[in-house]
């Protein structure tokens, strides 16, 4: 079981209020991703749940029991750190068995669990090596192994993939998702990468300056962002924002339109502009277009558009996918 509730939780470091009052419910078995720009308080929030930081006020409940004052060792949670935080003086086997040793589990059961975790994570051949003799991806797997042997109530991941190279990151992303499918244990995952959030999460929590901006499924956030911040943070390339007269026509202070919802033509359209940069990815082409009286617009077209730097193009927004925001940034 791994239901976690945060009630009126606040955290201040001295004078600085990092998390003003915050409520959050995490259901058992959910994959929840905390996402936000650096300094938004997402790691602090995770550390509060872990017990590595004390809350300034409020209550943290794990499975309905008040865990606010419970030390990290006895919360029944497992954590995977960004730096892996393996014990360098122990073999992989001892690293993975460490939490079991701390729980004073008998040796045969320890061995059984370590062996099965190593099998799941493809670490069987490396059990007698030291962490220093492993690659980044293998170290990450050891850290995950150390977390799963305990059969915790929930897993906490603190930006676990940010030290890996791009290709490995995609692999590990899949592995963690598969792990969640097979274990069906609550996972809380912190990242600043919205692609990771979109691809892995059941539920995304978007944080900004210690506040929750929106909670929802990845597609909820994509389709109906609650405000301009979420609209701009979720989706890649970023949503285009247009203010002024053009927004006024739609009865809004600002309108937002995603690059994939702009239609491109070389002959006619709502707005005329000049292509500043064209990025050809093969499957897609990203165009950065200067339009009079607006910030540069990003347009995404499928395949190879055959359009280059300096070309004149016409752009039309898809009215169905237009987002309208008021002066405070709230969605209308």
């Amino acid at each position: 079981m791994g239901k976690i509730s945060l009630k009126n939780v606040t955290k201040a470091f001295g004078e600085a209020m990092v998390i003003p009052s915050l409520d959050l419910e995490i259901e058992d078995g959910e994959f929840v991703v905390f996402v936000g720009p650096s300094g938004c308080g997402k790691s602090t929030l995770l550390r509060l749940i872990a017990g590595l930081e004390d809350v300034t006020s409020g209550v943290i409940e794990i499975d309905g029991r008040d865990a606010t004052e419970v030390p990290p060792a006895r919360r029944g949670l497992a954590m995977v750190f960004q730096s892996y935080a393996l014990y360098p003086h122990m073999s992989v086997r001892k690293n993975i068995a460490f939490p079991l040793k701390m729980a004073k589990m008998d040796a045969a059961e320890q061995e059984r669990r370590v062996t099965s975790a190593a099998k799941i994570l493809n670490l069987t051949d490396y059990l007698d090596r030291r962490p220093g003799q492993l690659s980044g991806g293998q170290r990450q797997r050891v850290a995950i192994g150390r977390a799963i042997v305990r059969e915790p109530a929930a897993f906490l991941f603190d930006e676990p993939l940010s030290n890996l190279d791009a290709a490995l990151r995609v692999n590990m992303r899949l592995e963690i998702s598969e792990l969640h499918q097979s274990l069906a244990t609550t996972m809380i995952y912190v990242t600043h990468d919205q692609v990771e959030a979109m691809t892995m999460a059941d539920k995304i929590v978007v944080l900004h300056a210690g506040r929750i901006e929106q909670v929802g499924s990845p597609l909820d956030l994509y389709r109906s962002p609650a405000n301009r911040f979420v609209a701009g943070f979720i989706g890649s390339p970023k949503m285009n924002f247009i203010s002024g007269a053009e927004a006024g026509k739609h009865g809004a202070h600002t309108i937002g339109i995603r690059p994939e919802h702009l239609a491109l033509s070389t002959t006619e359209g709502a707005w005329q502009g000049k292509v500043a940069v064209a990025e050809h990815l093969g499957s897609d082409t990203f165009l950065y277009v200067n339009v009079n009286g607006m910030d540069p617009l990003t347009v995404r077209t499928q395949g190879e558009a055959g359009i280059h730097h300096g070309d004149t193009v016409y752009i039309s927004p898809d009215a169905e996918h237009l987002h309208r925001f008021d002066a405070s940034g709230k969605t209308i």
Binding site: P72, A85, Y87, P88
Partner: protein
């Protein structure tokens, strides 16, 4: 061109290094040589360097006149004892300063170090009186206590710098894995700091072995370590250089051997943070 300059520089640096090394080692070498001379040759002018009648009579004389083994054991007990006691106090102290620093941690560290700036003779009388009244004069226990206290600031500082190098996340990981404070220190922190702790241990044994001020002033016979053993050959009967040299050689030999075998560990430990 650049290569030639750098070669010349290298030669120069090597010569200077050797010169400094020989200058530092010369008194020790001279002491060792003198210990094998007769008293007459020891004060001969001009001094004889290697060509004299080598003799072991000084060692025989020193051995028959005083109990070398007693002083040697005293030195071992006092230096090892004070170092172990110091480590037992300093490991938790350095842990708390490195991993749960408070507002005043830096000040506490500076204050501890500042006690090393006080001339020991300034507190000789009070400490002497304290020792006299508590019956610690000329006891090994008394010397263990005083040398522990004297070297404690250095032990804490050294351990603090080593502990600082250990990433806090690893200790947090241990906490998440269910380790209590004690298990965290025993299973994670201490094994990771072993190189640092080992070089602290070695350096402090050497410092305590060589300490002469307190060991001379607070002992008479029973607890006197090798420093007092050397001193007993200096003044009262006039200066007998050869016998004094033999006593000195006997006193420094154990620590020289220890230093020789542990020099790799010592250098590695002392440059632990600097060359990572």
């Amino acid at each position: 061109m650049a290569r030639r300059v750098s070669n010349r520089r290298k030669t120069l640096v090597t010569i200077v290094a050797w010169a400094v090394g020989i200058a530092i080692f010369f008194p020790i070498l001279w002491t060792i040589l003198t210990s094998f001379k007769t008293e007459a040759e020891a004060i001969a002018s001009p001094p004889k360097f290697l060509f004299f009648d080598w003799t072991l009579e000084n060692y025989a004389e020193v051995n028959s006149r005083s109990n070398y083994f007693l002083h040697f054991m005293n030195s071992v007990i006092i230096s090892v004892g004070s170092t172990l006691l110091g480590l037992a106090i300093a490991i938790p102290a350095a842990w708390s300063m490195a991993f749960v620093p408070g507002k005043r941690t830096k000040d506490v560290l500076m204050w501890m170090l500042s006690t090393k700036m006080l001339p020991p003779v300034g507190v000789l009388i009070p400490i002497y009186l304290l020792f006299r009244d508590s019956g610690l004069l000329d006891t090994r226990l008394g010397l263990v206590i005083v040398l522990t206290l004297i070297n404690l600031p250095i032990i804490v500082w050294m351990l603090f710098t080593y502990f600082k190098e250990i990433p806090g996340e690893i200790l947090e990981a241990a906490r998440m894995d269910g380790a209590g404070l004690w298990e965290e220190v025993v299973h994670v922190l201490t094994p990771m700091a072993v190189p640092g702790i080992a070089s602290t241990l070695l350096l402090n044994i050497i410092l305590a072995w060589n300490e002469a001020f307190w060991t001379l002033n607070l002992t008479a016979a029973k607890a006197a370590p090798l420093t007092a053993f050397i001193a007993s050959y200096s003044s009262p009967e006039g200066l007998f250089y050869a016998k004094l040299s033999a006593a000195s050689t006997l006193a420094i030999a154990p620590i020289l051997v220890l230093g020789w075998f542990s020099q790799k560990q010592l250098v590695r430990g002392l440059t632990f943070g600097a060359v990572k």
